[in-house]
């Protein structure tokens, strides 16, 4: 029976347009799909014709998804995408040839699938990585007896581009958090010779993952990235700048607890520790789970999960203007020490003055006349 699944080389080069047509999808439906795609990719509606043209000719590339030190939250998030749904993604857009959580094959067969995809699509496949890579000891994370580092390097070799999904893969994430017990590092800490798109978030917004994938598949190019390697369309503006609660910040109206009048009226969550001002992500516009809500709308301050080292930002309920360490204690210890030092230094002053007084040489009129 497996024979039915033998590859038919001639059909492998089908474009997305071919697939759509073979499924009897009308041009109008296709245009609608493109409009939704443009919206998802946070592109101007003016781009719809371009997207249509590009998608028409897009191929269905092989995608290898590697999971290292992760929690599967990123994959879970991917399955929540409502535009370019996971179904349409894995059936129409891409060939997801290796993905632990979703693939049918296990054990050796799974590894064979990965190796086959790498061999057949060398130089063309897209590598998606979630999770960080522990450099403290190869035994800290292995798959099929292979260390994460070895598997990443081996698989990255033939990749056309790499998408690092989630904060762990992009910046090291929670395993990297102080004291980073396993020596976790990010993908771009290890790979320097491939284009890498960082899609941070803990997890990233579902449609941002698919949006980035779709962009790559549609245009075959890396979207414009910011200084942290993030696509600007999604990570170009801070949560704070696009937050619907911003006017309350500007007016100085803040929720003080989670269910006071301010919380109920949707006042700004800055005082509750919101990291929106320093966090660049699309939550405020894209929202989560098909526009249902997002953390700030649900009354919880932004954790800042799309930023590097957000775990070590000094407490999720400490506002950005608060120091991250216990300054009160520091101040008390310092004061105690400084009083001692001050007394010593003051005593030096005093003794210096006393010796000056002791050295006093009486001035007489004769002295003046000299």
């Amino acid at each position: 029976m497996t024979n039915d699944f033998k590859k038919k080389k001639s059909q492998k080069e089908q474009t997305f347009g071919d697939v759509m047509r073979s499924q009897g999808v009308s041009r109008r439906s296709f245009l609608k799909f493109c409009a939704a795609t443009a919206s998802m990719m946070a592109m101007s509606p003016a781009m719809i014709p371009k997207i249509a043209h590009a998608l028409e000719n897009a191929r269905r590339p092989s995608v290898i998804w590697l999971s290292f030190q992760e929690c599967t939250g990123c994959t879970e998030s991917l399955t929540r995408a409502h535009t370019a749904t996971i179904e349409s993604l894995i059936f129409d857009h891409i060939s997801l040839d290796y993905h632990h959580t979703l693939q049918a094959a296990a054990g050796h067969a799974a590894e064979e699938a990965r190796e086959a995809a790498m061999e057949e699509n060398y130089g063309k496949y897209l590598l998606v990585v979630d999770g960080s890579i522990p450099m403290g000891n190869p035994g800290y994370s292995t798959i099929a007896g292979i260390s994460n580092y070895d598997m990443l390097m081996e698989t990255a070799k033939g990749a056309a581009a790499i998408i690092a999904v989630g904060t762990c893969a992009t910046y090291g994430g929670i395993p990297h958090a102080n004291p980073n017990p396993t020596g976790a590092v990010s993908v771009n800490d290890l790979i320097k010779d491939k284009p890498i798109i960082n899609v941070p978030g803990c997890p990233p917004i579902p449609v941002v993952i698919t949006g980035v994938l779709t962009h790559f598949l549609t245009f075959g190019t890396i979207p414009e990235l910011d200084h942290l390697g993030r696509p600007k369309v999604f990570y170009g503006q801070s949560i704070h700048d696009r937050c619907y609660r911003r006017p309350f910040y500007d007016k100085g109206l803040f929720a003080e607890t989670f269910d006071d009048e301010g919380a109920k009226k949707g006042w700004c969550l800055y005082k509750l520790g919101c990291k929106g001002p320093t966090t660049y992500n699309a939550c405020a516009t894209t929202k989560w789970n098909n526009g249902t809500s997002w953390p700030i709308e649900a009354g919880h301050p932004c954790l800042g999960c799309s930023e590097p080292d957000f775990w070590d930002g000094g407490g999720f309920y400490k506002s950005l203007s608060m120091p991250t360490e216990n300054i009160t204690q520091t101040a008390i210890y310092t004061a105690a020490g400084a009083v001692a030092a001050g007394v010593a230094i003051g005593a030096m002053n005093k003794s210096k003055k006393n010796s000056a007084i002791a050295a006093h040489d009486k001035t007489t009129i004769d002295d003046l006349e000299k």
């Binding site: 230094i345 002053n349 210096k352 003055k353 000056a356 007084i357 050295a359 006093h360 040489d361 009486k362 001035t363 007489t364 009129i365 002295d367 003046l368 006349e369 000299k370």
Partner: protein
């Protein structure tokens, strides 16, 4: 480093105490003291900025008494005090400052700049950077007993003269008298009317008083030049005389810095409290007034104003008394702008009048007083400091102003019944 420079630096080191340290710590270089100083307002020269004048003392504080300054000094980064600095600063400290203390009143940080200058002069003098004329005056004060060289015979001659003129007795060396009067050389030599006036008032008020033949000189050149050792010696003479005569109160005459020296600095200079009180003559007179011991006959109709001598008013706290006294004989009293504790200096206090080198500048800065007077146009000026009087007269003459100048004590005496 020369021995004298070393001595000067040591003297500056001695001067730094918590007040000095807090003052220097607080200065923000706002420049407001300049606007309060007639040497700046009348010359427009920024070197006259009061806080600038205390640079030698500031450098010593910084390099000796601050952590950062000491560290800087180790690396040669903290500014040093040397002969060049001191010689440059000599005129700033002695010629361009009358220690009037007006800057101390406006500093928003509360820096007592006059005090700092006084302390700076201690170092300058010790290092040998004091004006020659001041040195001469000081020498005379120490050796002869008076900066102007007035000896006892001269005083006795003037007393004789007064006694003859008025028929009053001027008690000398009366043991057990209540008051012991001090006189300034100027009063003895230039304004013997003052002695006459006192004799008249005290007689009418019926008080027991005396003048000591051993310590009649009120002025203290040590204070002006900034040599505490000498100032103390001069104070000690008065203390000895007062103790010898067992007086209850020593009266400082109409002389500003004399009052400062004996009333406020005296006990601190000799290092122990006095066994007697010290009062300014105006304080005494005002007490008499309160006690109803002064009966006035007729009032002046002239438009009178009062020039506050700095050391008496602003620095000495005798502000109300002269006005109370003037009120007794005047219905037409007018205050100058900024009168009272904020009044402007005549321009010759703090040893400037003694300092011949400063003659030109002191007359220039008199412009300030002139402007004040021009604004109110008085018929006559009353003052209570012989030093002020001499300089005011010089100034009025310089600026061709024909305004009579009177001593408060003398004018009061004239109006006694």
């Amino acid at each position: 480093m020369s021995a004298s420079l070393e001595k000067g630096i040591n003297a500056l080191k001695e001067q730094v105490d918590s007040t000095v340290a807090s003052f220097f710590s607080s200065c923000v270089h706002c420049g407001m003291c300049a606007d309060a100083c007639l040497f700046y307002t009348e010359t427009g020269c920024p070197t006259a900025t009061p806080i600038h004048k205390v640079e030698p003392l500031r450098r010593i504080w910084k390099s000796e008494y601050t952590l950062l300054g000491r560290v800087g000094k180790m690396f040669g980064l903290t500014a040093k005090v040397d002969d060049e600095l001191l010689s440059k600063w000599e005129t700033k400290v002695y010629d361009h400052c009358t220690l009037c203390g007006r800057c101390s009143m406006v500093c928003p940080m509360g820096i007592d700049i006059a005090l700092l200058i006084q302390k700076t002069r201690e170092g300058m003098a010790a290092a040998g950077y004091a004006p020659e004329s001041l040195i001469g005056a000081t020498k005379r004060a120490v050796t002869i007993g008076s900066p102007m060289g007035v000896k006892l015979p001269a005083l006795m001659a003037q007393i004789k003269h007064v006694e003859n003129d008025t028929g009053l007795t001027i008690p000398m060396d009366v043991v057990g008298a209540e008051y012991m009067l001090l006189l300034s050389s100027m009063e003895i030599m230039n304004f013997p009317e003052f002695i006459e006036a006192i004799a008249k008032i005290f007689t009418k008020a019926d008080v027991s008083w005396t003048i000591s033949s051993e310590a009649f000189e009120a002025t203290n050149s040590g204070i002006q030049i900034g040599v505490a050792d000498i100032a103390a010696e001069l104070v000690q003479r008065i203390v000895d005389a007062a103790e010898k005569l067992k007086v209850k109160t020593v009266i400082s005459p109409e002389c500003g810095h004399a009052y400062m020296a004996i009333r406020w600095e005296g006990p601190n200079l000799i290092g122990k409290p006095f066994s007697f009180k010290v009062r300014h003559i105006l304080e005494i007179l005002d007490e008499f007034r309160q006690d109803g011991r002064l009966k006035i006959n007729g009032k002046e109709e002239q438009r009178l104003t009062y020039h506050d001598p700095c050391q008496i008013s602003r620095r000495g706290g005798v502000i109300e008394q002269p006005r109370n006294l003037i009120d007794m004989f005047s219905d037409n009293f007018v205050e100058m702008p900024d009168a009272g504790k904020m009044n402007w200096c005549c321009g010759a206090g703090g040893g400037v009048s003694t300092n011949e080198r400063a003659d030109k500048v002191r007359l220039k800065v008199f412009q300030r007083k002139k402007d004040q007077l021009d604004e109110i146009k008085p018929d006559a000026i009353i003052s209570a400091c012989s030093n002020c009087r001499i300089h005011l007269e010089d100034g009025l003459e310089e600026y061709n102003m024909d305004i009579p100048l009177m001593s408060l004590t003398e004018t009061l005496a004239e109006h006694l019944e």
